[in-house]
Amino acid sequence: MTPPPAGWADHPAAAALAARHRLRAWESIPWALALAFYFVFPKHLGFGTELLVTTLFAISLDLVLGYAGIVTLGHAAFFGAGAYTVGMLAKLGIWNEPLSGLILAAVVAAAVGLGSGLVLLRTHGLTLLMLTLCTMALLEEAANLAHDYTGGFDGLDSLPIAPLFGVFEFNPLYPKTQYLYSLAVLFVCFVFVRTLVYSPFGQSLRGIRENMLRMHAVGAPVRGRLVLCYTVSAAIAGVAGGVWAQANAYVNLGTLGLDRAATVLIILVLGGYGRLYGAFVGAVAYMVLSHVLSKIYPTAWQLGLGLLLVVIALFARNGILGIAEAAVRAVGRRGAGALPSEASERP
């Protein structure tokens, strides 16, 4: 083995790789904004909670889609698994403590992810897409059939969720607790995902996304990595579903539907996938637009959304963040040289 050449650490590539995971000043902005929202818009905390949960769900999708490159149309299966775990345990009076409920939601969703991932991830392309779709449709149908336990089409409402730490009540009319609780859960999960994607494991996922054949050739356990990534992502989606059920005190079949799966995909792509903060940008852009527009002009909203998707697919494949990064780079070239951004590692 030849030793690395002297002074390799000074090489710009090595420096960029070593500094990649460091926290940057702007990374505090979304969290500061989220806290500010709590004080500025006390009347819109219900919407804020929905926004935070959606962001968390989009982050879980980013892990499989943006980092591992698995195209799935069935991610709501895990969101729904988490939501129904919390909902059924609370409704049947078995368990209603929120934090441990989330852990149970994560465990159940992870089990669904592991089980389906083990079989689904043998395939790729259209077959994989179809299998993710069918798995989700199957869960939805199962939830519909088992209406003695799941409430069927009507779902379960007025879930008796216990107060957080025995003190802070989940009041559906004044969702202060829900908002801060969702924010805290989002933060913990985000830190976990951020650590994960900058770890060697995250790096190997990117390798699989870029060139699966080469990853096989260098001896990486490709399928094991993909299944693990799918399971972790499912667990986080399950947490998102669990928080959603606790915050709204109900679950219904919509948590498992194609609508939710397609929406989260759109949100992630709108923000920019494979770049952590894309989920935040996409969720805010989509939710605010849909909140304002869909009530006034629901049909025009759908038309605009479709147009937006077509434009993104044709011209702006990296979403809003991609456009912003390209702009920053263009300005940077004119000014003081290229900025080291995460975009530079994407093709």
Binding site: V71, L129, L131, L145, L265, V269
Partner: protein
């Protein structure tokens, strides 16, 4: 004897539904097999065609047959324009971009139809001679189902002859089997694909019109039955006309029988079956090539 009649009536109903499934799905299978394009907007073309047919009959007093031809031509022309202008840019793009583009297209189709025509279900009045029942010798059955089966047989024979016996069909088969080889032999793939795409969308339009009687016709049609169309294609194998035909009949009969005996949970059974089948044969039941 009664039992035999029951079985026959169920089979006929299922086969009629299967014929509609086939007419809609065959274009999807060929475009996916030919270009590897994940076209989730295919159900949208069926919906648009169904609307063209229903409106032509209601607004302009077209006969059922003329309206079907009209719907076929309009949808084929519109899809050919879309293919040249937009789809063609994405043939080399990733699955994800194709999925997003076609989902966006479906949303735009649904919203446009809702804005222009309205969100309600469009009733499609069949001509009097197609309503009522027909005597099949051993039993009486709904005329329209029998007509659907006959139309389906005519179409599948026509397609089979077209694909197996004509020069154009040979080019399609060559391109499905090995696109690069076909291209280097001088086959004009771009033109081939535009024509196939237009024909496939036109067929979907026919299916939308023919099936409106029992599938209904509203803007959500484009997404509601998409999973079924995709299942037929995935089970039948990409780019195989005969495979899609058998798969459509299988799913049609299965769905019909299950809806009758297990009104709840019938579709769950089809999903399970599809999952198991795709795990066993990822290229589909009748597909020859790995996808």
């Amino acid at each position: 004897m009664i039992f035999g009649v029951d079985v026959a009536s169920m089979l006929l109903g299922g086969v009629a539904a299967g014929m509609v499934l086939f007419i809609v799905s065959v274009g999807l299978s060929v475009t996916m097999g030919l270009m590897g394009f994940v076209n989730l907007a295919h159900g949208g073309f069926a919906m648009l065609g169904g609307y063209a047919i229903a409106l032509a009959m209601k607004q302009w007093g077209f006969g059922f047959g003329t309206a079907l031809v009209f719907g076929f031509v309009v949808t084929a022309a519109a899809s050919a324009a879309l293919e040249r202008l937009l789809y063609a840019r994405l043939y080399r793009a990733t699955d994800l971009d194709q999925v997003l583009f076609t989902i966006g297209l479906v949303f735009m189709m649904i919203a446009s139809v809702t804005l222009l025509v309205g969100p309600e279900n469009q009733p499609l009045a069949l001509p009097a001679m197609l309503r009522g029942q027909i005597n099949l010798g051993f039993m009486r059955y709904r005329t329209y189902s029998v007509v659907l089966i006959v139309i389906g047989i005519v179409i599948v024979s026509g397609l089979w002859l077209g694909v197996e016996r004509t020069r154009f069909g040979a080019q399609i088969r060559a391109a499905v089997d090995n696109r690069r080889m076909a291209e280097s032999l001088g086959i004009n793939i771009a033109r081939l694909f535009t024509i196939t795409f237009a024909l496939g969308s036109g067929m979907a339009a026919l299916g939308g019109g023919l099936g409106a009687e029992f599938l209904g016709l509203d803007p959500q049609y484009a997404l509601k039955y998409l999973v079924y169309f995709l299942i037929v294609v995935a089970v039948g194998g990409l780019g195989r006309v005969s495979g899609v035909f058998y798969a459509a009949l299988l799913i049609g009969v299965l769905d019909f029988v299950l809806k009758k005996y297990v009104p709840q949970g019938g579709s769950a059974f089809i999903y399970v079956l599809t999952i198991l089948l795709l795990l066993w044969r990822p290229q589909g039941l009748f597909g020859a090539r790995a996808t």
